[in-house]
């Protein structure tokens, strides 16, 4: 009988627990204090750095969002000028996408991928540290543009030319250079992750034995390497248009502003999946654990992820349905976009079927994962509506779109990150997170998220364009609700910080296998995971699954 998947395995290695006992000459002279973190090549320390950076930026971007929501609390201009409003919406988007969500997933990848595949570290540890330290440099530069004469970027996180070229503030050149640094960081990080996954798996672990988080990250890393250079290319063209008089995006010289959008969204759509595929991986680890039942379709999950990634290269122009595409192109992109619903549906059905006839408990990671399934699916539904090109003529650039992508990003990507953090905190710190506080955080977040983003659907359908600092009176109620929800959600996240800090300092002790139903390799090393794990490769055994 052929072995069945998903994998369950036993582990034969002895070195891990005794890692402290190994006096490895390379670790002899560990620098102390801050230098230890600055110079580190350890995947766990770098992972923590990524996560801390991401959390910090999550609050920075969150404060920008709250400035926006405060101004939109009621009609009229009360607190800030439209110019600053535009800078805030732009910076909120850029920071959340490039400095909060992406580094958070990279941090989780750093921490967990070597543990999940039985590797001692990332494939290229020094490069790994370089990838991280580029980020503070990039985002210090980006944030500093807010203080430059003429103000920071004010053209939205999508920075459409010519608003971002001919009509942009002087600081745009710095914005471009900052994005270049962040892009280099992402590309190097992705190369490292691919090399790790393809080359560092424990002996005996085949591709189809890898946990889904590893699989989704492998595909994500591929997407990153494929599209971040395209972003680098398009911002380079912007730089040339601004500083060297080229006319890539200027019809006067034979260019086309829409060319910018094609290139941007060729990057931008896969980028959207870069921010959600690892989330799928996390949720696919958590749901089977707390349902105490194997994932319904491991292989179809892998295939669906790959299919989504492939399709993501074919759908970019659905962000451009009203830009005046030729009819054939409009139809092509409508069809290809609608097709994405199929593999995405497969994923949701798989999660639900995994729950069916399980033995389900509701620890904090599970709560966030379940909320992810429901709310991400709602975001998927509005995505399906947006895929219908004629209807998109009405939805486009309204708050309906804002609602849609916040549903897939906040209770989608960010909830999955939080689920992952709660899930793996015992492995990182050796202690369980405070259950009551975590639950309180969960319920406040759920209420806050829905209060913030659900009314946006209505505001958008009723005709409110996005990115406006002031609005007509019929949108007042929806906006007031959203603003209240946003402040509530923002404040609730302080609880998250509290839980994490408390968990680092102590709490209920966690065993190696912190969750009853958890199966993957990371649960075979002690909690907290020692600084060095798997220095001798473990032997990975698939145990035959009983039917």
């Amino acid at each position: 009988m052929a072995p069945k998947l998903p994998p369950q395995h036993s582990l034969q290695h002895s070195s891990t627990a005794a890692a402290g006992g190994h006096s490895h000459h390379d670790h002899a002279a560990q620098p102390k204090g801050i230098l230890r973190w600055v110079l580190t090549t350890n995947h766990k320390e770098i992972g923590s750095l990524y996560l801390i950076f991401s959390l910090t930026m999550f609050f920075v971007g969150g404060i920008f969002a709250l400035v926006v929501r405060a101004e939109l609390f009621q009609p009229g201009l009360q607190l800030i000028e439209p110019e600053f409003f535009n800078q805030m919406t732009t910076m909120h988007g850029l920071i959340m996408v490039f400095a909060a969500v992406m580094p958070a997933f990279t941090g989780l990848a750093n921490w967990m991928i070597p543990l999940q595949i039985g590797a001692p570290d990332m494939a290229l540890p020094r490069l790994n540290n370089f990838s991280f330290w580029l980020l503070p440099v990039a985002f210090t530069l980006l944030l500093s543009t807010l203080l430059m004469p003429g103000g920071g970027p004010n053209f939205g996180w999508t920075f459409y030319a010519p608003l971002s070229t001919t009509y942009a503030p002087a600081s745009t050149t710095f914005f471009i250079l900052a994005l270049h640094i962040a892009g280099i960081s992402s590309i190097l990080g992705a190369i490292n992750i691919i090399a790790t996954i393809l080359n560092m798996r424990a002996p005996g672990m085949r591709m189809m034995d890898m946990p889904l988080f590893v699989w989704t990250w492998l595909i994500t890393a591929f997407l990153l390497i494929a599209v971040m250079p395209v972003l680098a290319g398009v911002i380079t063209m912007m730089l040339m248009d601004i500083n060297f008089g080229t006319s890539f995006f200027d019809a006067a010289g034979g260019g086309d502003p829409v060319l910018f959008q094609h290139l941007f969204w060729f990057f931008g759509h896969p980028e959207v999946y870069i921010m959600i595929l690892p989330a799928f991986g996390i949720v696919s680890a958590i749901i089977p654990t707390f349902a105490r039942k194997p994932l319904f379709g491991y292989a179809s999950m892998v295939y669906a992820t790959a299919a989504i990634a492939l399709l993501s290269f074919l759908v970019w122009a659905h962000h451009m349905f009203i830009v005046g595409l030729p009819l054939t192109a409009e139809l092509f992109f409508m069809y290809s976009t609608m097709l994405i619903a199929v593999p995405t549906g497969v994923k949701v059905f798989n999660w639900v079927t995994t729950l069916f006839r399980g033995s389900i408990s509701f620890e904090p990671p599970m709560l966030f994962a379940l909320a992810f399934v429901v709310l991400f699916t709602i975001g998927g539904f509005s995505g399906l509506m947006l895929a219908i090109a004629p209807a998109d003529f009405q939805y486009h650039d309204t708050y309906f779109v804002v609602a849609h992508f916040h549903y897939v990003l906040v209770p989608g990507a960010i909830f999955a990150i939080m689920a992952g953090v709660y899930y793996w905190l015992p492995k990182w710190t050796g202690y369980y997170p405070n259950e009551r506080l975590a639950q309180c955080h969960f319920w406040c977040s759920i209420v806050g998220v829905n209060l913030t983003f659900f009314p946006m659907h209505f505001a958008g359908l009723a005709g409110m364009p996005r990115r406006i600092p002031d609005y007509a009176l019929q949108f007042a109620d929806f906006n007031m609700l959203s603003s209240i929800g946003a402040f509530f959600f923002g404040a609730s996240q302080l609880m998250f910080v509290l839980v994490v800090v408390m968990c680092v300092r102590g709490g209920k002790k966690a065993p190696a296998k912190a969750w009853e139903g958890a199966e993957d390799l990371e649960w075979s090393v002690p909690s907290p995971a020692p600084l060095h794990t798997f220095e001798t490769p473990p032997v990975f055994n698939r145990t035959h699954h009983h039917d």
């Binding site: 230098l35 570290d121 020094r126 440099v137 002087a170 190369i191 494929a226 034979g254 060319l259 094609h262």
Partner: protein, 285 residues
């Protein structure tokens, strides 16, 4: 080593490298926006190069002391392979821009195709490639374009030849004939330098005799961004090969274990392939 995987000790190069890169970028930005800050840019660039030098020195050192096993070698291979793929995608963005403009934007502006009605705004514009008379009269197009069958053809032959000489050098290294390897590698570097010089002459000609400038509408823009970034890659490639030459001279590389050398070959071949694409789509068609 007990067969374990080599995890390098702490290193100061990553953090110094990122600070250096940051300084270089800030300097570049100040230079572009406020027309000052050149020193910072140059210092940053020098620091980036220095850090890279030290970093690679460490890697070479570790490799020579036998700290790397076959698995580490594979990691480097995957790493370099995907890095080159990312470079391919970088050029793909520029090629994509070129194809888009030629297939869609220019015909539309000239009154053909699905958005041909746009020609109402540019009544005098005639769609053709290369665009010698951009839609708006305020943008001066090139006077004429370069013939592909002169310098560009010479450069194509040079680069293709250099790929062959490099392969010969690689084969020689595999056979352990280090002297042959050194000579052919030196030849490759020389060809690379020739290419760069000829490209320089061509740029001079383009600017001074053909009116092909960055400001010369979309033709100048696509021409310079494609050939320019390719040229930068040739310069980097030549520098890499030069350092390989020095390493050969110093007696580095084993017959069966020389990924540093191989990686530079990959890079050079990649640069070569990009040029062939350039030659076809920028010069010939």
């Amino acid at each position: 080593m007990s067969g374990g995987y080599y995890v390098p000790a702490t290193s100061r190069w990553p953090i110094l490298g990122s600070l250096a890169l940051g300084a270089m970028m800030v300097g570049t930005g100040i230079k572009l926006v406020y027309d000052t800050g050149t020193p910072l840019m140059l210092i940053g660039m020098a620091c980036v190069i220095t850090v890279m030098g030290f970093w690679f020195r460490d890697v070479i050192h570790e490799s020579m002391s036998g700290l790397y096993d076959a698995q580490m070698d594979r990691s480097f291979r995957w790493g370099m392979g995907w890095f080159i793929f990312s470079e391919v995608m970088f050029f793909a963005a520029f090629f994509g821009a070129l194809f888009y403009v030629r297939t869609f934007a220019i015909p539309w502006l000239g009154g053909e195709g699905a958005k041909g009605v746009s020609a109402l705004l540019w009544p005098d514009f005639v769609a053709q490639w290369p665009v010698l008379n951009p839609p708006d009269s305020s943008v001066a197009g090139p006077d004429s374009v370069l013939s592909p069958w002169q310098l560009p053809l010479v450069n194509t032959l040079i680069l293709v030849t250099s790929s062959i000489t490099l392969t010969v050098a690689h084969e020689a290294l595999k056979l352990g004939e280090r002297k042959t390897c050194r000579n052919w590698l030196a030849g490759t570097v020389l060809l690379g330098c020739c290419f760069i010089m000829i490209q320089g002459v061509e740029y001079y000609e383009a600017y001074n005799h053909y009116g092909i400038t960055l400001e010369a509408g979309i033709f100048g823009a696509t021409f310079f961004i494609l050939t320019g970034f390719h040229g930068v890659h040739v310069i980097i490639g030549t520098l890499i090969l030069t350092s390989m030459l020095i390493r050969i001279h110093k007696g580095h590389f084993a017959q069966d274990h020389h990924f540093g050398f191989e990686a530079s070959c990959w890079y050079w071949h990649f640069v070569d392939v990009v040029w062939v694409g350039l030659f076809i789509f920028v010069y010939v068609f």
